[in-house]
């Protein structure tokens, strides 16, 4: 049951082959059996899940059900969920019980999905390996000595191991696509503004975007159709209609113009990964696409640009954690300043502190122009590179990550080494574009992802291309044997 896709489980529920309660119990049982090894969940909401499943079964029986009715899913632990802990992977929020639902949570709940739990993540979504969580490292189901990627690593590991059929994530610099690639699943980051950020714990507000972690592009289309749409509570939410993403999945790719980004095939790219990605791009030729090389000349500066912009926004956003209104508070503060400084020092982990300090530095008097303003200008150059490319092609392709999953502890000593892991994904966030990672093979037994980037609000075409590729290939159907 757990090796099936969301679309297949949805059909089984609607045909009454199985009830939502049975399905939910099955996944809860798998979480209980396997999560001790993976550590993908921070909170499991068994009781609430079973109650929702029984409600869903009534709806399924009466015919008042949609494609997500009765489907067990998990949310990354930075989406606020009423009555459940929303920790953001941090000691700072270990005691925080959200008084409301994020818009994403509300919409998926309204569509009848069953919330089975909240997934582990890098602290405040700052990390590419899920090693910075207060709740410990998440393990990759394909090799438990390796990282699942991050920051949505708990969501990725949970879906890959079949502990849940789909999960939400957020992507600020690659945090959906990179873990999806490293765990052999499909990860979609929509256009900035497509999905409401309301009720997401903010990291970098001009970059954060919610998306999906699923087995297939078809499953992603079902979730995105519910998650996307205008929300008055998010001032950057875009008011434009949400297409029926599923309806255009099967459109033939004849004449689709695909640009292969030259700069993605840099010396840092492992040859095994390069070969698999090139084979995947060849498959698109077979599907009728016209493939050409394209250049994004400023893309090489996206990592330093991002690591100025994102920490600057993070230092500002995280100033709200002051030990006064919610979150961790230091004991016996001697004055207000001591309360702030010690609550934050005790509540935040090392990587979060590094980013707050970096952000404070680049925003401080005397350095603002040299770093922050300069990075914002380079950001414009990078976005313009993408704009020019999309005048010539419909989609851009390349690898999602330079290597397959790396070992736990392998990159924790040097922050720059870790940051460079996001080299292919970060440009997309700086520009605000939509992109997906789909499984395209195995390098020495570890999954590799193909990165497909689309123009603004062109999720339809991305999902269409990814789906047609998945009809031709079998990589998305592979499951880690240890969790069969």
């Amino acid at each position: 049951m757990h090796s099936r896709t969301l679309a297949e489980l949805s059909a089984a529920l609607h045909e009454h082959q199985i009830s939502s309660e049975e399905l939910t119990r099955h996944f809860l049982g798998r979480i209980e059996r396997h999560d001790e090894i993976l550590n993908a969940f921070v909170t499991v909401a068994a009781e609430g899940a079973l109650a929702s499943a029984r409600d869903a079964d009534k709806k399924l029986a009466s015919g008042d059900a949609g494609p997500l009715t009765g489907i067990p899913i998990a949310h990354k632990d930075l989406f606020c969920t009423t009555g459940l802990k929303t920790s953001c992977g941090s000691k700072m929020l270990d005691n925080f019980v959200s008084p409301y639902d994020a818009t994403v949570v509300e919409r998926l709940k309204h569509a009848g999905s069953i919330l089975v739990g909240k997934t582990n993540m890098d602290e405040y979504a700052m990390g590419s390996s899920n090693e910075t969580s207060y709740y410990g490292v998440v393990h990759n189901p394909w090799d438990t000595d390796r990282v699942p990627g991050g920051s949505s690593g708990g969501s990725a590991a949970a879906v890959a191991a079949g502990l849940v059929v789909a999960a939400t994530g957020t992507d600020t610099g690659g945090s959906i696509r990179q873990p999806a690639a490293l765990t052999g699943i499909t990860g979609l980051k929509p256009t900035y503004g497509r999905v409401s950020r309301w009720g997401m714990v903010a990291f970098a507000s001009s970059l954060d975007q919610a998306g999906t972690l699923t087995h297939t592009a078809e499953d992603a289309s079902l979730l995105l159709g519910v998650m996307a749409g205008f929300d008055t509570r998010d001032s950057t939410s875009v008011d434009r209609p949400v297409p029926d993403y599923r309806a255009s999945l099967e459109k033939p790719l004849d004449g689709m113009r695909v640009g292969v980004v030259d700069e993605f095939f840099d010396p840092g790219l492992e040859s095994g990964v390069a070969t698999l990605v090139e084979q995947a791009i060849d498959a698109f030729k077979g599907l009728g696409a016209d493939v050409e090389r394209v250049h994004l000349p400023n893309l090489g500066l996206s990592v330093p640009t991002y690591y100025v912009v994102a920490p600057a926004e993070c230092s500002s956003n995280l100033s709200r954690f002051d030990g006064v209104r919610f979150g961790h508070r230091a004991s016996k503060p001697k004055d207000l300043h001591d309360l702030y400084c010690r609550s934050r020092a005790e509540g935040f982990g090392d990587e979060v502190k590094r980013r707050i300090l970096t952000g404070t530095y680049v925003l401080s008097a005397g350095y603002y122009d040299a770093y922050y303003l300069k990075a914002q200008k380079v950001r414009h150059l990078i976005a313009d590179d993408f704009k020019r490319a999309f005048e010539k092609v419909d989609l851009l392709m390349g690898p999602t990550t330079p290597t397959a999953a790396f070992g736990i502890g392998e990159k924790t000593d040097d922050p720059i080494t870790m940051y460079l892991n996001d080299v292919y994904t970060i440009g997309v966030n700086l520009a605000g574009l939509p992109a997906i990672s789909v499984p395209c093979g195995f390098d020495a037994g570890l999954p590799v992802g193909l990165h497909i980037i689309g123009n603004y609000f062109d999720e339809e075409r991305i999902l269409n291309a990814a789906h047609m590729y998945q009809r031709e290939t079998d990589w998305h159907n592979q499951r880690p044997e240890a969790f069969a």
Partner: protein, 101 residues
């Protein structure tokens, strides 16, 4: 570049982070490396380029000036470390006046 101790302590003060003596050296080394990494940005010719603060070219939306939120103070304060009579409590910020003032 490199930080001297005073500079770093000022930065930690601005960020409202208490940095213990044992983490100081590691953080200074990391931060130095990160800021050095940013020097690459100088390679880009940004003469006349407008800074990009936001990915979408959109105006700030306005809404009608009407009350839409309900008073949920009691619920929100359920997460607060210390409250009294609907107020958030913090250590005293103004010294108590003495009787003869």
């Amino acid at each position: 570049m490199s930080f001297d101790r005073n500079e770093f302590e000022n930065l930690a003060f601005l960020a409202r982070l208490d940095v213990g003596a044992e983490e100081m050296d590691g953080l200074v080394a990391n931060l130095t490396r990160i800021i050095d990494f940013f020097e690459q940005l100088d390679q880009a010719d940004t003469e006349g380029v407008v800074p990009m603060a936001h990915p979408l070219d959109m105006p700030q939306r306005l809404r009608d000036d009407i009350v839409t939120e309900q008073d949920r103070r009691a619920m929100y304060q359920g997460n607060a470390p210390q409250t009294d009579a609907g107020l958030y409590l913090v250590p005293r910020v103004i010294d108590r006046l003495t009787a003869n003032e």
